[in-house]
């Protein structure tokens, strides 16, 4: 039973991190129709910024997270302005190739500056929380709490504020949104900033129980893509549900089926689901 609960905790941790990354990806896709392959590289940049703040400047964990979020948000906005905005009228093949160029560049810069070696980020909360006879690492609880907190905040932002509604409006209908006076360029920048900040926060949360290296975003971004395809590309609730599905499948599949192949599970699930239903599990929202 304890083992089961451990797996449950593990599944929720994975699902939270995947959810934060997939949310940023799905927001950008919803607003700009771009599968941003560079999102995983932004995640890695976030981890490195936090690492530098904590290790080189012995900064506070929360400060590291905030600085990482700001830095990656700025980087994401720059990439929108310099790369994706000039390509807004190009064939769809072009912005995908540009995104690939971006991911190649960012990862090479990280490797050039920090080297390819694996680094350990200091664990901010090295305690165990006792709950009955179950002991849980505080960092994992923090991840789950922070991720679901952020998702709730994002949901409130999108549904209850004027600025949030403009994002939803552009995602629903670009022309319609600009007809009612929404500045779509500003919305695009804002969306990229939010997605970058979410990726950085996810990286800062996850890095202490994982490793920091230039290609750390590779596997994660691919799983995030699986998640948003599962949940319907552009759908916010779909991304959260998809993240939990993949988190649970991996955690329990890795434990009960095969730990070796646990990373294949997400992709195998995608292959099976897309073979049966080419538009993903949940029907795509009107766009």
């Amino acid at each position: 039973m304890d083992l089961f609960l451990q797996q449950l905790l593990n599944a929720l941790t994975l699902g939270s991190i995947y959810g934060l990354v997939a949310l940023g990806l799905t927001l950008v896709y919803g607003v700009l129709n771009i599968p941003n392959f560079a999102h995983g590289a932004l995640y890695a940049v976030g981890a490195y910024v936090a690492y530098v703040v904590m290790v080189d400047y012995s900064g506070n964990y929360w400060l590291a997270m905030a600085l990482a979020a700001v830095a990656v948000a700025v980087l994401a906005m720059l990439s929108e302005r310099l790369v994706f905005y000039p390509l807004r009228n190009s064939p769809p093949l072009h912005d995908k190739i540009a995104a690939i160029g971006l991911v190649m560049f960012i990862e090479a810069m990280l490797q050039w500056h920090f080297g390819a070696e694996f680094r350990h980020m200091p664990v901010a909360f090295d305690t165990q929380v006792q709950l009955g006879n179950l002991s849980m690492p505080a960092q994992r609880l923090l991840i789950i709490a922070a991720a679901f907190g952020l998702m709730a905040v994002l949901h409130l932002f999108l549904t209850r504020t004027m600025t949030g509604s403009t994002i939803v409006a552009v995602a629903q209908n670009r022309e319609g949104a600009s007809l009612v006076g929404i500045d779509t360029r500003r919305v695009a920048l804002l969306t990229f900033a939010i997605s970058g900040a979410l990726a950085a926060v996810a990286a800062t949360l996850f890095a202490p129980i994982n490793l920091v290296y230039p290609a750390m975003g590779h596997l994660l971004i691919m799983k995030a893509f699986v998640i948003i395809v599962l949940g319907g590309m552009g759908s916010v609730p779909g991304a959260i549900v998809g993240a939990l599905i993949i988190g649970f499948a991996e955690s329990f599949g890795g434990f009960y089926i095969s730990n070796e192949y646990k990373d294949v599970i997400a992709f195998a699930a995608l292959v099976v689901i897309l073979s049966i239903k080419p538009t993903g599990l949940f029907a795509k929202r009107a766009n």
Binding site: V83, K96, A98, I100, G101, W112, F225, F267, V271, S275
Partner: protein
């Protein structure tokens, strides 16, 4: 008016290129240069495959490197672990290209644009993980060693640098010739119609699925043969051959030369190989240059070198033709 730039489009240019390639072993300063060029030929062959599905058909295949690796591993496993004769194993690698392309294509090509790109990205990753984890078959992370060089005929020994160079050149020529024939045929035009849009192609009465799968299988066969040649050239392969960076490399080669053009993949591959070789420090950090290069090209010169050249030339010829027609009309009116 005859222009110097017209020379590039004339058949003479192709004959000249081939002649230079044929005498290159006597021009090369070292065996190393020859080795680099023959490896570039092998990569170019793989890029020609990518050019069919992405350049002609317009479907961004992000799993191309995986089919390259599948070809390489098929050859390696058949020759090293099962002692097959080289050319049988080579044919086996091609068959692997057909079968894997068919299986993946039938599932993935039902998906449109972004979904297709993401799906093939995932397929590439599954192949990478399988090569890495399935130790009983692939020797896992240690990779495959002592892969034999192509079996020679009579006194030709392909384990030497010069004969292998000619072998790679011959395969590349064959690959370009097939791509040329496809481009000129009805099939090539069908692919172009698909690139312009599924709806358009369908309204022309094109069977979308069958033609897309055909294009996909053609591209994976190119990749598998290129992978098999690569394995027999470097003699050692590992799961990293399936890494997505190889696919990204190939996209860069194709885009620089010009996706969807006949000579683009060759020009792009040779140019970038030459650049990385002459700037050795680029080898490890080539992406620092290639990444922004890809972005800048896609924004300012999306047709690549060959595509832009052909576009300008065609526009000039069209302008000259209209000017001539107008002058003729003017003359008739005066008379």
């Amino acid at each position: 008016m005859k222009r110097i730039s017209d020379l590039f489009a004339s058949p003479w240019m192709k004959a000249l290129l081939l002649a230079v390639a044929l005498v290159f072993p006597w021009l090369a300063e070292s065996d190393y240069q020859l080795y680099v060029l023959s490896t570039a030929f092998v990569w170019a062959l793989a890029v020609y495959g990518l050019n069919i599905i992405t350049g002609f058909c317009g479907q961004l295949n992000l799993g191309h490197g995986a089919f390259f690796a599948l070809g390489a591993y098929t050859l390696a496993i058949l020759t090293v672990d099962h002692q097959w004769p080289f050319w049988w194993a080579f044919a086996g690698a091609g068959l692997m290209g057909v079968v894997s392309g068919l299986v993946v294509g039938v599932v993935s090509l039902r998906l449109k644009e972004n979904y297709f790109a993401i799906f093939t990205l995932c397929v590439g990753f599954i192949v990478y993980l399988l090569l890495d984890k399935w130790e009983a078959l692939t020797h896992g992370a240690a990779g495959m060693m002592d892969i034999p060089a192509p079996e020679g005929f009579g006194w030709i020994d392909f384990s030497a640098t010069v004969p292998f160079y000619y072998l790679a050149l011959a395969f590349l020529m064959l690959g370009i010739w097939v791509a040329h024939r496809i481009g000129k045929s009805l099939l090539g035009r069908t692919f172009l119609a698909i690139r312009m849009g599924d709806d358009l192609a369908q309204s022309l009465g094109i069977n979308l699925m069958r033609n897309k799968v055909l294009g996909f299988v053609l591209s994976t066969v190119y990749a598998a043969f290129a992978g098999a040649l690569y394995a027999s050239s470097v003699r050692f392969i590992g799961p990293a051959e399936a890494d997505v960076t190889h696919t990204f490399d190939m996209i860069a080669y194709g885009l620089v030369g010009g996706l969807g053009t006949l000579m683009g993949p060759l020009v792009g591959t040779l140019l970038i190989t030459w650049m990385t070789q002459s700037l050795q420090f680029l080898e490890e950090f080539r992406m620092i240059v290639f990444g922004p290069l890809l972005v800048v090209l896609v924004i300012f010169m999306p047709k690549g070198i060959v595509g832009t050249y052909a576009f300008r030339r065609n526009r000039r010829i069209a302008a000259e033709l209209t000017a001539k027609a107008r002058a003729k009309e003017e003359g008739q009116r005066r008379a």
